[in-house]
Amino acid sequence: MNPILLIVLKRLMIGLLTLWIVTVIIFAAVELLPGDIATEKLGQAATPESLAAFREKFDLNRPMVERYLSWLGGAVTGDFGISMANQRPISELIGVRTANTFFLAGYAAALAVPIAVVSGMLAALYNRSVFDRVLSNSTLAAISFPEFFIAYILILIFSVWLGWFPSLANVDVDTGLGERLYKTFLPAMTLNLIVLAYMMRMTRAAILNLLALPYIEMAHLKGIKRWRVIAVHALPNALAPIISVIALNLAYLIVGVVLVEVVFVYPGLGQVLVDAVSNRDVTVVQAACLIFAATYILLNLLADVLSIIANPRLLHPR
């Protein structure tokens, strides 16, 4: 059997195991909260009848393990149960919003990843030049500000002063792709600025790390152009650390959008999560946590697998 397949399978199993542990933690954490969910939800004025009805409705009377299993079974098929706040099915509540969040993250990533990798390569090529320093310092400045601050600055410049882009990203199911891209440009740019620096700096550092190696010197001594040495000889060997930083940042894009969504009034998961937390809507919080956790684990899994594939020693064994 190809060893790489074996490694990938092993990683996949570990990823699934991690995800399962996360489901246990999410479920147990809510169970272990002090007090009884029904009394918490219905308050002091609750009658024994209404409490019993609440317990019946949310299936709180069965033993914990049984409830966990049916919750897990539902979650796997996309059914997260019903909201405690408004009794509607959670999948209906968060379905479109999850898609919106992933769209925005994907949009930001499509901008950020190419920009980060290319500018990282340029910074390595012109290492220690004015260009390198300006790039390094400006991206560092961008991550030093909180995201809502960047969001407001962008709104001030591009929306209030220049009037090029709308300050509200109010999309719905019927919004076309072109309009959607236009309306969400500012939030995507905000996210882009936040994640750009890490990815760019890692690309630069990973490439610079390799430049003293004999095979890079060899490429120079073969009379290869400097840009080609960086892009063709250094980059493929620097991929593993770059991939893992990109994956980490993509996961952040999905999990960390809450504030940016609120600033731009974008109908994503963030807004739902904020509402659910303030309403103590436990079942929705569980569902959102599970989606975030799964995203993190899957992206990191993907990064692991890609890093393995990027290593020719593993891909082409002796």
Binding site: P214, Y215, A219, L221, K225, N237, P312
Partner: protein, 542 residues
């Protein structure tokens, strides 16, 4: 038209260290005719690689050419634009690096790396270059020349990689190739094939070459002219045969004489010979890969047993098994009649103390954050419980024993020592435990010949003074001749032959021992030619 290809005049190169420019090359001239091979020899730090690279108008990071002219075929390279230099490099001047394994990009197939220079310089199309590559792979005697190019560097052996790199350097049919220690990292038997292949191909295309090496016997086979460098200065230059027969300068003579060290024959011991270490039918493996197969060996007290073999023969693994770093699968090791636990950590401390080891790379075997007195002091307090003044006095004694001045060296860090001094500190650390038995694992391989000889002399003196027993692991036959009482020849995890040095070095030999011994380069400039001819006739006859 002049036949002078390269004319370097008064080259001065500096390197940036300790916040100032320090001279590396101090005004050297170098002339090379078309088709001529110049051997550049010297110890490490002599500046031979720096000078070789300067012939391409290139310096390593942190270095600069301060003065001098480098005229290549009428083109001035010193101060030339990077574009002008780039158009020459790879096309008219090519480079072959010391470690082919490190100089090939691990991410690409060999043939793609071959094709890069001709395609990028616009000399050939990709298809032509691939066809040409297979042709050259055949000429340089790589196995399966049509397919080997489609492998990745890690899928090919070291000797094959070095030949593939020579072929790659030839891709644009350059006028000049710089060979920077191309066979230093190879085993002797592999080295021969690579040397033969390099010499043939360079002659066939009438390519001029600068051949950089520290090995005189190698340069004797390759070069028309030899230039000796010492600390950035030229010592002398002469046609190869003249230089070999009659070196003029004292330094050159000392280089020539280095291999002559022989230890005094051991005196018979009072009370007869006793066995100190007995290795009995040892089998060992890394995972499922078997590395030691049925190794049995007796080591007499006070003797030096040399284990020779090529890389992969299992000689270092044997050391690891004896030290208890790799538990054996089968077999027993007894030390002075007492059986040793498989795991070194489970052996009683008193027993651990008696077996010490000195490693090949003194650089990595010393903790860079510890002062010399702490390096040597640690085994003193760990094994012997010495403290305070007693410990310091013993550290001073040990440093004096290894011929380093205690006042000067006690408070230094390893980075402030030369390679030979570091290896001496490692010896002192081993001695600190007051052992009876020391494993020396390639202790001189990373050192220059003169320095290595000093280490061997020191080890010999210590053996006589302290009644030590050595297991000396090496791939260098000259070292074996210098210091061994008994020799064990290993190949692929098996002992091929063992016996006294005299018995092993005098015929008849086992076939593998014969191959190993005949592969050691000799100073005779016709040695390689004769040997290859002889082996060819043997192959045809057989």
């Amino acid at each position: 038209m002049t036949d002078l290809l390269l004319d370097m005049k008064n080259i001065k190169i500096e390197g940036w260290s300790d916040r100032q420019w320090k001279p590396i090359i101090k005004g050297v001239d170098l002339q090379l005719k078309r088709g001529e091979i110049l051997g550049l020899i010297g110890e490490s730090g002599a500046g031979k690689s720096t000078l070789g690279l300067a012939a391409m108008g290139y310096t390593k990071g942190g270095c600069r050419i301060r003065e001098g002219n480098i005229k290549f075929d009428g083109i001035e390279l010193a101060g030339a634009s990077s574009k002008a230099l780039r158009q020459l490099r790879g096309k008219r001047i090519a480079y072959v690096a010391q470690s082919a394994a490190a100089a090939f990009n691990p991410a690409f197939k060999l043939i793609n790396q071959y094709c890069e220079a001709p395609v990028q310089h616009g000399v050939m199309s990709k298809e032509q270059a691939e066809k040409d590559a297979k042709e050259l792979y055949r000429k340089i005697r790589l196995p399966d020349p049509d397919m080997i190019g489609f492998r990745y560097p890690h899928q090919v052996s070291g000797g094959q990689l070095q030949r593939a790199m020579t072929a790659m350097a030839m891709a644009c049919r350059p006028d000049l190739i710089i060979f920077d220690e191309p066979t230093t990292a190879l085993d002797v038997t592999t080295q021969i094939e690579v040397l033969g292949a390099i010499r043939d191909i360079v002659r066939e295309f009438n390519t001029a070459a600068i051949y950089i090496t520290h090995d005189l016997a190698v340069v004797a086979q390759m070069a028309d002219q030899i230039k000796v460098l010492l600390r950035g200065d030229e010592v002398e230059q002469a046609p190869a045969r003249e230089m070999l027969a009659n070196p003029k300068e004292d330094y050159t003579k000392s280089l020539w004489a280095v291999r002559d060290f022989r230890r005094a024959p051991p005196v018979p011991r009072e009370g007869g010979e006793t066995t100190l270490l007995e290795i009995n039918t040892i089998h060992a493996a890394y995972g499922t890969v078997k590395v030691l197969d049925n190794i049995s060996l007796n080591i007499r007290r006070g003797s030096t047993v040399a284990v020779v073999g090529e890389s992969g023969s299992g000689k270092s693994t044997l050391a690891r098994v004896i030290m208890g770093l790799l538990p054996q699968l089968e077999g027993v090791i007894t030390y002075d009649g007492e059986s040793l636990h498989k795991l070194g950590a489970k052996r009683p401390r008193g027993l651990q103390r008696h077996l010490q080891m000195i490693h090949q790379m003194a650089d990595t075997a010393l903790n860079p954050k510890q002062k010399i007195k702490d390096v040597i002091g640690r085994p003193l307090s760990f094994f012997l419980g010495l403290k305070g003044a007693a410990k310091e006095a013993r550290i001073r004694e040990l440093l004096t024993l290894i011929e380093l001045d205690p006042d000067e060296f006690m408070d230094r860090f390893p980075s402030e020592l030369s390679g030979g001094q570091k290896q001496r500190v490692c010896i002192a650390r081993a001695l600190a435990a007051e052992p009876d038995f020391i494993i020396c694992d390639e202790v001189t391989s990373a050192l220059d010949q003169l320095v290595a000889e000093g280490i061997l002399r020191l080890l010999d003196r210590l053996q006589r003074e302290l009644d030590l027993t050595y297991l000396f692991i090496t791939h260098d036959i000259a070292t074996v001749r210098s210091i061994a009482d008994e020799v064990v020849v290993m190949q692929n995890g098996v002992i091929v032959e063992q016996g006294s040095k005299e018995a092993i070095f005098s015929p008849p030999h086992e076939p593998y021992t014969e191959l190993l011994l005949s592969s050691v380069p000799e100073m005779d400039p016709d040695w390689l030619t004769n040997l290859l001819k002889e082996r060819d006739t043997q192959v045809t006859a057989g």
